[in-house]
């Protein structure tokens, strides 16, 4: 592997080369002829621009996402584009993901509302190709879906929105559907093993089948307040929430997971807020050193 990795990296990064001009630049600096000059990277220019904006308006944060988080954002966008799903209506689904080579597959399984009504969505993201989104109710009556009626045997974005806004109508409609077709009723189970029978200890919990142990952030890591600021900005950006929504949001949980053999330390936050009459549960997980967003999620309708 020695040569292979070196060759590939050198070839891919061949445009990054240290030339004599750079050497002379450093030598001028050690002689005191010029001050340390930092190149303004695109990122730094953005940073300076944002700082300027912060002077005259509300400070903005540029969100950095992991490749997985970027893929999840694309998947949600694909569902918004094709099916009109909004952040709150997407919140009734349990999102799972799988990566194979350069292809991501996201599944959104009905959990906060009955699966036989809302169905499951799937989005396949292949590098360089348009996202492919599908729904188990793709053959459903479009006119009935467009009507928004809860009598429809398939619940699309309009039905879910109505169901989230009107608890009584939701309850009544679900009972009617169950009565009419009891054989369709299924119970969604998350595809991850349950925690061991003896449960978790204090400061531990399971997340996507993985045991998380609470730790204490090191001095070189983001503080809880710093991490929360980034988490809120990311959630606002991802789920089209306003600053006012975030200001009202109640933090229900903060968790610092110490570094493991396979993963770096992270901060995880859970927030709760009611927006336009819909209860939203929000979750953000970010790298405790760099602030890179690793996971964002929204839950509604009792999901989560």
């Amino acid at each position: 592997m020695n040569d292979a990795l070196k060759q590939v990296l050198d070839r891919q990064l061949s445009s990054l080369a240290w030339d004599n001009a750079r050497s002379q630049d450093v030598l001028r600096q050690v002689r005191g002829e010029t001050k340390v000059k930092k190149k303004l990277s695109v990122g730094l220019v953005m940073a300076l621009t944002l700082m300027l904006v912060a002077i005259v308006a509300v400070a903005a944060i540029t969100i950095s996402r992991s490749s997985e988080a970027q893929a999840a954002t694309q998947a949600r966008q694909a569902l918004a584009d094709r099916y009109g799903l909004t952040p709150d209506t997407l919140g009734v689904f349990y999102m799972d993901k799988a990566q194979e080579g350069d292809t991501w597959t996201f599944t959104f399984s009905g959990e906060g509302l009955p699966g036989f009504l809302v169905g499951d969505y799937k989005v396949v993201l292949k590098k360089g190709e348009a996202p492919i989104a599908s729904w188990t109710h793709d053959e459903a009556d479009q006119a009935l879906l467009d009507s928004g009626s809860l009598d429809s045997p398939a619940w699309g974005a309009k039905q879910i929105k109505t169901a989230l806004m009107d608890t009584e109508a939701r309850y009544t409609a679900i009972q009617e559907h169950i009565k009419a077709s009891p054989e369709k009723v299924t119970h969604f189970e998350r595809p991850y093993p349950s925690p061991p029978a003896d449960g978790t200890q204090e400061g531990e919990y399971y997340w996507y089948g993985e045991l998380w142990k609470e730790g204490v952030p090191g001095p070189d890591m983001l503080t809880e307040a710093q991490a929360l600021e980034i988490a809120k900005a990311a959630l606002m950006d991802e789920f089209s929430l306003s600053q006012e929504d975030m200001d009202r949001a109640e933090r229900t949980d903060s968790f610092f997971r110490e570094e493991t053999n396979s993963k770096g330390a992270v901060w995880s936050f859970h927030l709760y807020v009611v927006v336009d009459g819909v209860e939203l549960g929000l979750n953000a997980v970010l790298d405790a050193i760099t602030g890179e967003v690793q996971h964002l999620n929204i839950t509604t309708g009792g999901n989560g």
């Binding site: 990795l5 030598l27 990122g43 590098k127 050193i289 760099t290």
Partner: protein, 172 residues
């Protein structure tokens, strides 16, 4: 007689030699850590400035490459710790780099992305061993860890890379 500060030509020549010998590989290594060309250039520059200031410690170092790479890794980590303060969007910008020669076996950025995605401690070991071509003992020395720990990190890093790079991966 007035004291006149004369730049140390010997030290400058030594610095120039280090930059010529290690400049490009150090710059590229910084890029793998920082995922931003501008930051990588800043970090490489800062590495050499720090190296110049501490050249006197080089004599005691067993390997000048290990000594220099330790400075580079620490500098990159310092940059990473403060990058969020700079509000830097560190999304991988490899696609924005000028067009590089294409590898028919691996025409995209799969390899770099796989290495970039490794947890920091594995990335350190992989970059030093496989990119800088260091011996495992030098990797351990650079990272200030035991030989066994260095071996274990390389083994785990290899396992992770093997999973992601099945198509082209082969062992040493």
């Amino acid at each position: 007689m007035d004291f006149v500060a004369v730049p140390d030509r010997v030290q400058e020549m030594e610095l120039e030699r280090l930059m010529t010998q290690y400049g490009s590989s150090l710059l590229r290594m910084c890029y793998v850590y920082l995922k931003d060309t501008g930051l990588a250039e800043d970090a490489a520059q800062e590495t050499f400035l720090k190296a110049y200031k501490h050249l006197h410690t080089l004599k005691d170092a067993q390997s000048e490459q290990a000594w220099l790479m330790r400075i580079a890794i620490n500098t990159c980590k310092d940059f990473l710790r403060t990058s969020w303060l700079r509000r830097v969007d560190r999304r991988v910008d490899i696609d924005t780099l000028p067009e590089a020669a294409q590898d028919p076996e691996m025409p995209d950025a799969t390899v770099i992305n796989a290495v970039m995605g490794l947890p920091a401690k594995y990335k350190d070991a992989v970059m030093l061993r496989y990119y800088q071509g260091m011996k495992i003992a030098e990797v351990a020395q650079t990272l200030n860890i035991s030989l066994d720990t260095a071996k274990a990190r390389l083994r785990r890093a290899n396992e992770k890379l093997r999973q992601q790079l099945e198509r082209w991966y082969y062992d040493e």
